[in-house]
Symmetry: C2
Subunit: 448 residues, 2 copies
């Protein structure tokens, strides 16, 4: 059955108030789907009832799939004992995320009901800055001391498995909890039980630091196809792991943020679907206003050439397509560069090679565009204006492309996020250059 079928069956069971059917349907729904269902119920009592119809482990799993604001709401309505039980069953990273958003009162009430181990874990995870490996990692990793045989390591994993986020990668640590190596469960299962883990483990372990950015963490996991990336504290001790599924979420969120930045949309307080009008307004108004004032320069450029324009009013016809072409070419280059830098496909070292290629490509594009616009120009305004228009087109497409390529590079060099070189900013710069070049050339070549 598809998610929709199961969801409809559950709805029907709820409508009939058939407890047995509800329990059965609830058990069939995947936790991610169940979370979706609960989120869309929008009946406070039913939300709690559905959640409580799940066995504890599945309840914790489902709860983790709910968006944080929904988790927060539900948490404030659950009896403290039930909440404590639920929170204890959650993975350490999700528990820490929930704690960060709980109201002070709920948090304190809950804190006293947790075991000491969980309390300390929460304090530690809460101490890392948002957006770092420390803040996204979980402390529920599988570690085995060095010096064990394969059989002993397997037994250790088996005993600790229920509390671990993954047991498919076992991290081998010395008595100071320093990371010595990694071995997969697959290798352990295939190995001779009496052989030593230290002889089989991979010693060159890809790892990150608690302060590494979450984007970098996601990139490492994707580059090396890891199931889990070990995270070390500043003293070199193993303190957590980030798993591939969290890395996928980070990568998706980063791509979304970069796309939004590319259109001068700032950070939202929730997903786009759930964002409040005020949050959307705030995320958009800032750059719109900044760019209005930037565009005053374009207006001033036009005003400066008022005499030329009055003398050759036909020039105006071509202005939009010239400045738009500069902006479009710039947006293309900027987007290629920004994304290339974000995925690690290109790096600042490649600038000479990329610049050479860009000049070649932009030159060819400029020529094509000049030819296209020349034809229109001759028919519309005669050969003289057509020549000015074609020459301008050639120049502005090249200049737009070079601004589009250069600005992200420059920002990257200066340690800013290249995604800030957003399309509207590039377009505005291209507009100003376009107007100045166009009417400047016209003044020189056609006279006033």
């Amino acid at each position: 059955m598809t998610f929709e079928d199961l969801a409809r069956a559950l709805e029907a069971a709820i409508a009939r108030d058939d407890r047995d059917a509800i329990a059965q349907r609830v058990a069939e729904l995947n936790p991610a789907d169940m979370a979706d269902f609960i989120e869309n119920v929008r009946q406070p009592e039913l939300e709690i009832e559905l959640l409580m119809a799940l066995p504890l482990e599945r309840r914790a799993d489902t709860f983790g799939y709910l968006p944080l604001p929904v988790q927060q709401q539900l948490a404030s309505r659950l009896p403290p004992a039930v909440l404590a039980e639920l929170v204890t069953a959650m993975p350490a990273d999700e528990r820490a995320d929930l704690f960060n958003v709980l109201d002070e009162g709920v948090r304190r009430l809950l804190f006293t009901r947790l075991a000491r181990e969980e309390r300390e874990d929460l304090r530690r995870l809460a101490s890392y800055e948002e957006g770092t490996a420390g803040a996204v990692m979980t402390s529920d990793y599988a570690a085995v001391p060095n010096g064990l045989t394969v059989a002993e390591a397997l037994e250790t994993l088996r005993l600790t498995a229920p509390d671990k986020e993954t047991i498919y990668q076992a991290f081998v640590v010395d008595k100071d909890h320093r990371l010595k190596g990694v071995i997969s469960l697959r290798e352990l299962i295939l190995a001779v039980p009496s052989s030593r883990v230290d002889d089989l483990m991979e010693r060159e372990v890809v790892s990150a630091d608690v302060s590494t950015s979450q984007e970098e963490v996601a990139r490492l996991i994707s580059r090396y196809d890891l199931l889990a990336l070990p995270i070390l504290n500043s003293g070199g001790k193993l303190v957590g792991i980030v798993t591939y599924d969290d890395a996928m979420d980070v990568a998706e969120a980063e791509a979304t943020e970069d796309m939004h930045k590319g259109a001068t949309v700032g950070k939202l307080d929730a997903s786009f679907r759930e964002a409040s009008p005020l949050s959307l307004y705030r995320s958009r108004v800032h750059w719109l206003v900044v760019l209005v004032f930037a565009n005053i320069f374009t207006g001033a450029g036009i005003a400066f050439f008022e005499q030329t324009i009055s003398a050759h009013i036909a020039l105006l016809f071509f202005m939009p397509l010239l400045v738009a072409s500069a902006g479009n070419a710039g947006a293309q280059s900027a987007t290629l560069m920004v994304r290339g830098l974000a995925t690690g496909d290109v790096s600042a070292r490649d600038w000479a090679k990329l610049l050479g290629r860009e000049i070649l490509v932009a030159g060819a594009l400029g020529l094509t565009m000049a030819a296209a616009v020349m034809v229109v120009g001759v028919f519309r305004a005669g050969p003289e204006i057509a020549a000015v228009v074609a020459l301008t087109m050639m120049l502005v497409v090249m200049i737009g492309s070079l601004i589009g390529m250069g600005l992200p590079f420059l920002l990257d060099k200066l340690k800013f996020d290249p995604a800030t070189a957003s399309t509207p900013l590039i377009t505005t710069l291209a507009d100003v250059s376009g107007v100045l070049i166009y009417f400047g050339l016209a003044t020189v070549l056609l006279g006033i």
Copy 2:
């Protein structure tokens, strides 16, 4: 040691021609890093030598991390017997990808040297359309027949493990190879050995069809945090899996493609770094030319109002910032919508809610922008023109936003890719509307 340190040590060993040191360094480098190193050597003989310095399994692993064009080149230079050995050791999905790009001659030579099983597997995988689950899946999945005990299932996994891409998810199939359930290796290890797999396995398995798009596959894996998604053929039989690491690559490639589309950049023949100038030119020129002709409408709009403009030349000063603001607001809305649709955050069903919110947000943005521009207008051109400018701003920001939000929705409804509603297209539409509204209002309110 970091990748850079290891790479430098390897370089030094190569420079000294120290075979032992080379072999040692090569063994230390992670396959992904080793592939990077080989790719950047740019000395044909050394490339082959380094590859052959690796033990077979690691060689196949490293080879798989090389970009396809490099794989293709190397394959054409390896002796057929060596290539056959390498190809046999590759995972089925990577082998199929390589086969698709091999020259006919190499392919035929190689084909005769492969075992029948691999040949049939290649034929089957090659038959699926690019971009579908069938084309990205691997046939190296771990399956166990139904009816086994946990101990028997574990033994089956252990025996088949060396050839499988992952054994952490075991798919339970009946005698017709129909998917009956899934059980994780973790559950098997924790279970009582004599218990039956059929009683423990998850029966509601998230799966996809061979014809499902690769984006949808990546979305399912990310949504349900899967290690591997089972793929069924049209007869409902299990034929392959897509693993999380391939899904991460697909998601990254999809995000890149969507960003490129957003700036009217078409498909490249390689990564941006490796793309040829001709490929870049081709990917960019198409839309640039289309948009030039679209911008002729804006020019025509201006030309239509030449009399108004001549009578009130001061209007020109405000034109760039008005049309740019419309375009910027439109780009913001379009980007939010396109990304929301791509990630599944919003769907076409949400249109009424989103439209209402957009009118609210765009109205507030329009008012803010009108106020900002009003101040400039009064100082620059007096209250009359300032009033026209402010009113225009209010209208164009709203219209730009609604175009930006509406077009991706419309494309989605018509089963086109909403990412085609690229920023330059929205900007062009906003430009035309902006010019018509501005000079239209001016003509009515100020006269000619």
